[in-house]
């Protein structure tokens, strides 16, 4: 049990390093896209460690407690994440719903801490973050409902193995409409443009983050990186057939995250009600269509 927990902590740490590096590389890629040099690839690490070393302010115990709960919840979620189909900390317990709901503890912690700062920008940012969540989560979960119904198992490892079995395709190909919905929802989860409304630095002063500095902000940065790791890994495992070895995982991970980032860098930002309207129109219709043809008609490529 101790060993499993240590492996879990290792996975969470690996996720942090991986996502922070890839985010750094992506800053360079986006820089090239915009005809500038962009920062060095390890700039994100420098930012985080600088923040952690600084002395900061606090707005009371809930402000700190929320940050701890946020990072703790996200680390706990990451500890359940399988990397490949035989490398995970807790075998059989990588249930899909753990990721969706345990990650919510982290989000709740952050929202609580931000509201506890007493800054209205922060509350507005939290309101927008929750509204965005209401928007992308439902179409995404309908697609996952289809996947679990087809595979008959909600364990991520089992879903990976199902896709890798001969005769079956990746779900991105087997359920093309659903795969597209999954990717759009992933953009929403990662807070990439056009769904970046809840951070919106120029509009609501970075929303939930407005009051933070020093170690609290550094911890929220770490939390943000690990949650991006969880979300992208979920997409890789659910739609891209998972990975049989770590290199396959790294390649798939890099492609998915970079693609999301590239799309993000050429888009504007939706207003918050546009986000909701958007998700409850096309992605939801597509998700339901996919579910109906896959479950009731059994048409799976």
């Amino acid at each position: 049990m101790i060993l499993n927990i240590l492996i879990g902590i290792g996975i969470a740490f690996f996720g942090f390093v991986l996502q922070t590096s890839i985010a750094g590389i992506n800053r360079k890629i986006v820089g090239r896209l915009q005809k500038r040099h962009g920062p060095r690839w390890y700039q994100e690490f420098i930012d985080i460690f600088k923040l952690l070393s600084k002395r900061s302010i606090t707005h009371g115990w809930i402000f700190d407690f929320g940050v701890i709960m946020a990072l703790g919840g996200i680390i706990a979620t990451a500890m359940f994440m399988p990397l490949t189909n035989n490398f995970l900390a807790f075998e059989n317990f990588d249930n899909f719903f753990i990721f969706v709901y345990l990650i919510a503890v982290g989000m709740l912690g952050m929202a609580m801490s931000a509201s506890g700062s007493g800054n209205p920008w922060a509350s507005i940012g939290v309101m927008r973050a929750l509204t965005t969540m209401l928007a992308y989560e439902v179409p995404f979960l309908i697609v996952v409902l289809t996947i679990i119904n087809l595979t008959g198992n909600s364990s991520l490892t089992e879903i990976m193995l199902y896709q890798q079995a001969s005769g079956n395709n990746w779900f991105l190909i087997a359920l093309p409409i659903g795969g597209l919905v999954g990717f759009i929802a992933l953009m929403g989860m990662l807070g990439k443009k056009p769904f970046e409304t809840y951070v919106a630095p120029a509009e609501i002063a970075s929303g939930p983050m407005v009051e933070y500095g020093g170690k609290q902000l550094g911890m929220l940065f770490i939390m943000n990186e690990i949650s991006a790791f969880i979300e992208v890994s979920l997409f890789v495992h659910l739609f891209l057939g998972g990975a049989t070895n770590i290199f396959e995982f790294l390649i798939k991970y890099f492609v998915v995250y970079t693609l999301a980032n590239l799309i993000s860098s050429v888009n504007g930002r939706f207003k918050i009600d546009q986000v909701v309207k958007f998700f409850y129109k096309w992605p939801l219709i597509m998700a339901v269509t996919q579910a109906v043809i896959a479950i009731y008609f059994g048409w799976v490529i």
Partner: protein, 607 residues
């Protein structure tokens, strides 16, 4: 051995004593009430789990009892909620106009609860239901408004009448008032009739769409210590009738082959889904914290209906566990709000802010309750929602799926609203002198916090008991060991999740504690884009929290209210017509109609 009959008689007697005691000293009478309820709870818990209650009846005429796992499960949950709430009585009762009768009615309604869940006779069931309705009807108007009681009573009576007609049809077919023999004897068209009638009763009691309109009115205006009882305990009566209808009657309607589900059950599942969506949307919009929680009860009632309409063991386990989890969570949340209301005198979120600085324990109680309510691990609500999701996904119910997922994510939104607006945010000047709730009120708060966590971390024992109910209903139970739950498509280990969450938080805490200590600053000392803001109220974001989202369904949100207003208007007009026809000033017309009606009624019988 504890006898059900004696417990009921004890409660009636205790009610009378409580009445007299409260008359002289409110505090004393309320303490007596706590002990009376505690006695009943201990007797039930001591003998009921092993099915060792004495069900013989010696004194009460025409009443008979039997012991079932189903009835006991409901009874113990509701008695527990009553017990928790009774701790609040000493601090609230003195404000009420008819405080003497408050404890009496409270104990009498508990007697009704015991009777209703232990009886094996339909007429007894109806009698005890009416006892509950009539006693609670006089409790509700002691709060803010008398109309709330009228609304509650109207819908409850509609439900009861529907149930009574169902009972008569059953009697007509089977010739017996016995619940189990009667329901087993139903078949064909009669079964469908009784099913529909019982479902109406269940919807009215549970406050489900489209019979939900009374729920926010009654919950929002009831006395503060009574709202938790309404939401945590009394609406569960509807779930009980729902179980009778959906599982015991289960009429042989056509089958949806895609989902392997009878049409009747599927319609109920869809109505339950609408309840979930409607309740969630209205809760997001609501400004009064108690009404918000009332709408959330409506949405959770929808989950319970969805669970019981999917006919398999996993779904039933989810439904029964959800009844427990929601009772604990909603009692916890309502009691936290009640404590705030006692300290500040309001439940309107736009008037409150920053209560966390003065009432940290109440805040924690609310936090843990809403984590459970939103179905986030490691709390009880997660287990039940996980089980229900399993069942929904396994059956491939897409449209019900949309509703349950929407309700689940939407619940983050509405439960967060009181957290942000009422407990967090700026500390408003008018509440600087508020104090934490007194010790006696904190006892149930701590117990509920503990149980919310316990049900989420170690559900094994409770699920094993629920398996008894499922077997009793004629289905196979779910596989559950001490730590693991086996669903149709996955295994869950709640204790492991709890442990890992503790490990994660531990790591985060270590990171936090080894780094440099932060400097404490005032709440008003925030980034305001260089504006000088001098007033806390201006920096507190609480009014219309989800304004952009609310705008999207603003026009549609009062459809049901409009419908019921129109219906009330039509009923009133009909009454006017009747008055005009039969009650005219001309006495001979009235006499003529009376004679005509008597002749009509007697036609064929006597004449």
């Amino acid at each position: 051995m504890a006898s059900v009959e004696l417990l009921i008689l004890f409660l009636v007697g205790a009610g009378v004593i409580a009445y007299i005691l409260t008359r002289f000293n409110t505090f004393l009478g309320s303490i007596f009430t706590i002990f009376a309820v505690m006695f009943v709870f201990v007797s039930l818990a001591g003998y009921g789990f092993g099915m060792n209650m004495d069900t013989t009846v010696n004194i009460l005429p025409g009443i008979s009892f039997t012991e079932t796992y189903l009835g006991f499960y409901f009874a113990i949950i509701i008695v527990f909620v009553y017990l928790m709430v009774s701790f609040f009585h000493p601090y609230y009762l003195s404000e009420y106009k008819y405080k003497n009768s408050y404890n009496l009615l409270f104990l009498l309604s508990l007697a009704g609860i015991l009777g209703a869940f232990y009886t094996d006779n339909f007429l007894n069931l109806f009698f005890f239901f009416e006892l509950i309705i009539w006693t609670t009807m006089f409790l509700i108007p002691q709060g803010k408004s008398k109309e709330a009681a009228v609304s509650y009573f109207g819908f409850s009576i509609a439900g009861s009448v529907a149930m009574l007609i169902g009972i008569f049809i059953t009697y007509n077919v089977s010739g017996t008032f016995s619940i189990y023999q009667g329901l087993a004897a139903l078949s064909g068209t009669n079964a469908i009739f009784v099913f529909v009638l019982f479902i109406i009763a269940a919807f009215a009691k549970l406050g489900s769409f489209p019979l939900h309109i009374w729920l926010p009115i009654a919950h929002g205006n009831a006395p503060h210590p009574f709202s938790p009882v309404l939401s945590g305990a009394l609406v569960k009566l509807g779930a009980f009738i729902g179980v009778l209808a959906l599982i015991r009657i289960a009429p042989a309607t056509g089958l949806f082959t895609a989902m392997d589900l009878p049409i009747g059950q599927y319609v109920v599942a869809i109505l339950g889904s609408m309840s979930i969506v409607f309740g969630t949307l209205m809760a997001i919009k609501e400004d009064d914290a108690k009404k918000l929680l009332a709408y959330s009860s409506m949405s959770h009632g929808g989950y319970i209906l969805v669970a019981f309409s999917i006919l398999n063991g996993i779904a039933f386990a989810g439904g029964f566990y959800h009844i427990l989890a929601h009772a604990l969570a909603s009692a916890g949340a309502f009691m936290a709000i009640a404590a705030v209301a006692r300290a500040t005198g309001t439940t309107k979120m736009k008037e409150l802010g920053g209560m966390i600085h003065k009432m940290p324990i109440t805040y924690l109680a609310y936090l843990i309750a809403i984590i459970s309510m939103a179905g986030i691990p490691p709390m009880g609500g997660f287990i039940s929602k996980w089980l229900i999701f399993q069942a929904v996904i396994d059956k491939g119910m897409i449209f019900v799926g949309i509703a349950v997922f929407f309700g689940s994510v939407g619940s983050f939104l509405y439960v967060f609203r009181p957290l942000a607006a009422l407990f967090l945010g700026q500390e408003l000047t008018e509440y600087k002198k508020v104090k934490e709730a007194p010790l006696l009120m904190l006892i149930p708060t701590f117990i509920l916090m503990g149980l919310n966590v316990y049900t989420g971390v170690f559900p094994g024992g409770i699920l094993k008991f629920i398996n008894n109910i499922i077997v009793e209903l004629g289905y196979t139970g779910i596989e559950v060991s001490t730590y693991e739950i086996n669903g149709t498509n996955g295994i869950l280990n709640p204790a492991l999740i709890g442990l890992i969450f503790a490990v994660g938080s531990g790591i985060a805490f270590l990171i936090f504690i080894v780094l440099k200590k932060s400097r404490k600053v005032e709440l008003m000392d925030t980034y305001t884009a260089a504006n000088f803001v001098h007033d806390e109220h201006l920096l507190h974001y609480a009014v219309d929290f989800y304004a952009p989202l609310e705008r999207l369904y603003e026009k549609q949100s009062n459809w049901m209210t409009k419908f019921y207003t129109a219906l009330a208007e039509k009923v009133r007009e009909l009454g006017k017509l009747g008055k005009y026809l039969f009650m005219s000033k001309n006495i001979s017309t009235t006499v003529f109609w009376i004679v005509a009606i008597i002749i009509f009624l007697l036609w064929g019988e006597v004449l």
